[in-house]
Symmetry: C2
Subunit: 291 residues, 2 copies
């Protein structure tokens, strides 16, 4: 039996099972301080175990290099109390089993590639547009990382001529996340959270232009076969159709690939809010084979 | 014995051997029309064969998907006469051996990863800055492609405030390649080819700013461990040090990784103008194992 955790900045999703149709237990609880939250997750797995291995798909930034002394740590997150938390290590010590470890978005990318909207794709990008913009990728069945994991939300995008908003990224100001995340929309249009559903057509169009501008950079660097977009902002009515229309203009016929303007190129997730935790099961499975 | 071709837009480099220190024959000749050029390469390999397999690292765009009826073709290149050329197929039919097939920059990336400036890196990006900007990548030992190969030269970069140049890309105008390729520099500063070595410090600084701006997008999407920059423009005196200084400003401390500001993060190739052809030998080797 495998365990999976999506360790998100606002909530933890803990799961026991082996796939979307074989889930024997699931629990969601808010992300509080590390000691309380980790203890609650460990308690869940004690009650529903024993497990062979556990996967953790976490908010970041993370140390993912196996040869680093800080492998398994959350590194420099702005989330109070969590910087320098040895998250993978805490679960490994408490449960005494192999731990798989990657970002929440790489976890969601893995799950959508294996069971969801990206089945059969050679390469898939998973983006979440919400309180930030996060991106993960699966290439030939493996989650993408190198020196560190991707931080796709921080690519640059050209400012739209009708947009005076300075951007909300504490590092870059008007990077992709700074211009197109949920808080950036709320700051501009005076709404937040669930109220974003009431945005005007002009606001949705501006968001679609920024999303297309950032996706262009992802597409030219990674050449993905499929792009899956989750997160609260992606649920705005009419946003995805508007984004698909804008992508053609961004690519401007180069390379001239029909696949990049088809509806299925940019699509919604199929696994909903369980994608991260289900992907963590795949990390658990991989950790078992690496023992 | 393995054969390799770097099929470039201006010249072909043909090589027989198994690595940088085991090259038994090499020949360079200009890229003329497809029939003449392909014939000349085939003649070289007849004279220096027999080969077990051949790798072709070609200018693009290319069809790389093995299940495509046009696998092995150069697709929609602006180079007169070459659009729709079945380059891999022509060599396969003439020589009757397995053919490896990828982009020239993925070939160079492979060679630098195996034998050159990227030895031991988990992920490496190879960029060439010359008549255009091309980018390839090797991740966990495999060249990167998905729906198509990367087209990194076409990411967007913010226009520098002191630069009125409209950009020279026929598709996007002021994309990275449109603002920072050799022709874009020559158009602005009235020099070309070898004379670019005489550029003023201000011109080199502008180029460094654009290169850093584009690299930032590559870094945030791919998170490479090493970046190798080849091509004529990269040889401009003082350019690489200026570029390294600018990268820190682009990343603005996120993520806060010392490795991304060290000199070895962005480096020159070690294999010179043989990188593409040597990488083609690795494509040949891989083709042998895929039979």
């Amino acid at each position: 039996m495998l365990g999976g955790i999506e360790a998100g900045g606002t909530k933890f999703v803990c799961i026991v099972g082996s796939g979307p149709d074989e889930v024997s237990a699931v629990e969601r609880f808010p992300t509080e301080d590390p000691a309380v939250t980790i203890e609650r997750a460990i308690d869940f797995f004690w009650r529903h175990g024993p497990l062979e291995s556990l996967g953790v798909a976490s908010f970041g930034p993370l140390e993912l290099r196996p040869d680093s002394p800080r492998y398994g740590y959350i590194t420099t997150t702005p989330k109070p109390g969590w910087s320098g938390t040895d998250l993978a290590g805490a679960f490994g010590r408490a449960l005494g089993i192999p731990i798989g470890w990657d970002t929440d978005v790489n976890g969601a990318a893995l799950a959508e590639w294996r069971w969801g909207a990206g089945r059969g794709a050679r390469s898939l990008v998973y983006l979440t547009i919400g309180t930030g913009i996060g991106g993960g990728a699966v290439i030939d069945g493996r989650p993408l990382h190198g020196l560190v994991h991707p931080e796709m939300g921080h690519v640059s995008v050209p400012r739209q001529p009708d947009d005076p908003f300075p951007g909300s990224c504490p590092f870059h100001g008007d990077c992709w996340e700074g211009l197109a995340s949920g808080p950036a929309l709320a700051d501009r249009f005076g709404r937040k959270g669930e109220e974003l559903g009431e945005l005007t057509a002009a606001a949705v169009d501006l968001e679609a232009r920024y999303l297309a501008a950032g996706l262009r950079n992802v597409i030219y660097v990674l050449a993905p076969e499929r792009i899956v977009i989750g997160g609260g902002i992606a649920e705005l009515p009419d946003l995805l159709p508007a984004l698909r229309r804008r992508i053609g203009a961004e690519l401007a016929g180069y390379p001239d690939l029909a696949e990049q303007t088809e509806d299925q190129f940019i699509t919604r997730p199929e696994l909903g809010d369980r994608a991260g935790a289900l992907g963590a099961l795949l990390l658990a499975e991989a950790a078992l084979h690496q023992r």
